[in-house]
Amino acid sequence: MIEAKNVSKSFGDNLVLDEVSVRFEPGKCNLIIGQSGSGKTVLMKCLVGLFEIDSGKVLYGDRVFSKMSFDEMKMIRQEIGMLFQGGALFDSMTVEENVMFPLSMFTNQTPAEKLERANFCLSRVKLENANKLFPAEISGGMKKRVAIARAIAMNPKYLFCDEPNSGLDPLTANVIDILISEITQEYNITTVVNTHDMNSVIEIGDRISYIHKGKLWWQGDNESILKSDNPELNEFVFATELTRKLK
């Protein structure tokens, strides 16, 4: 379980997160949704320690992550897998080397063992024949899948996905969503997904937190979100004429 307690973060005079308290459950896809600029990415970066919070706490289980030194954080980070918006694959490495990278850094596995693990992770994301390709040679959807393979290579307890569907067509986006959901349930991972894609919300939103103007505005699941009477949430969820008519 991951928990943010009264987390605030500002950049200069701009308060981006205002005392956000939210809990992310294991074995579930915990979605953070909100408009662009609402503070979702900042919240996620605070959760993983890429941004230092101004006040509040971030807990991984009973461990207070936000108060840890870099070396202490390192232990928890080895339990974290993260899928970045653009994939963030190392462009000087092949697909296979990207997936093996965390294994090379933190395990004493032999090259054969690392390769076996990389092949398993790549097959798990249905990418069997791309081992020797470089990131520049593969499509956006494939990059996301390689990034997922790299994120799960170390058997993480926590998986963070920052807008996993951005820039993808609806079909590929759905494949990524289903993959994230399957991996979450299969390994009982605490998954936190940052998205503003309503298809993802409906497809995999076991637990949804709506961030509005830096505050936690609403929480629920993919069924209750459609029935909510929260005006700001409704404005976000039913943003188009078509969805309003469907409602």
Partner: protein
């Protein structure tokens, strides 16, 4: 090894080319400036060697490397920053500065002295080639000048400067690249800042080191 290849071996061609021509020009300029028979002709070789060893190879070539290597380091790290590759390294639990910048600093500190030694040899050769082919100085006279009054401390001084400059180039450019914020425009700006700031640092440290080591 990859960094040594990227930062050092990749620069051999440009260093050799510039050094040869630099030595040739130095030799010709010296020859034209000696217009009295009271100054022996071997002075051409002697001054070419001294200028190359004390200043031209360690400082001018380091300034050129600041442009070539510095922009490479800053833009590489800047691109990694804006494409979140540095964040990805940090999330994995690795200190990205140590992982990315330290090997580059080590590579530059190891390989730049070799490049500068090669530059000295190429510049002296360039001077000989220009002097002999234009008939300004005889081969034996030039070589006598090259050997005359040689003090091995000059090489030590040049190598100390080279190592300090190598450290400055990579650490300053690396800093600018590592802390890039934004997108493609900012990567370009970081690259420019890396080159400009490391060049300024080289010029300033050149004076400081010369005062400390030669005065």
């Amino acid at each position: 090894m990859v960094e040594i290849d990227n930062l050092g071996l990749d620069s051999v061609g440009i260093v050799a080319f510039i050094s040869t021509f630099m030595g040739a020009v130095l030799c010709i300029q010296m020859a034209f400036n000696i217009d009295t028979p009271l100054v022996p002709l071997y002075t051409i070789g002697f001054v070419t060697r001294q200028s190359v060893v004390l200043e031209f190879s360690p400082t001018i070539i380091s300034l050129i490397l600041a442009g070539k290597v510095g922009s490479r380091v800053a833009s590489e790290l800047g691109t990694m920053r804006v494409t979140e590759q540095i964040d990805a390294i940090e999330i994995i639990g690795i200190n990205p500065a140590t992982y990315l910048i330290f090997p580059k600093v080590v590579a530059a500190v190891l390989v730049n002295p070799i490049l500068i030694l090669m530059s000295m040899m190429m510049a002296i050769f360039g001077g000989w080639l220009a002097g002999v082919t234009t008939g300004l100085v005889a081969s034996s006279t030039y070589i006598y000048g090259i050997k005359a009054f040689f003090d091995s401390y000059d090489i030590v001084y040049a190598m100390i400067k080279t190592v300090v400059f190598a450290f400055l180039i990579v650490s300053i450019s690396g800093y600018h690249g590592f802390y890039t914020k934004g997108g493609a425009l900012e990567v370009g700006a970081s690259s420019t800042k890396g080159v400009v700031h490391s060049s300024i640092a080289i010029i300033v440290f050149n004076l400081i080191l010369t005062q400390l080591l030669l005065a």
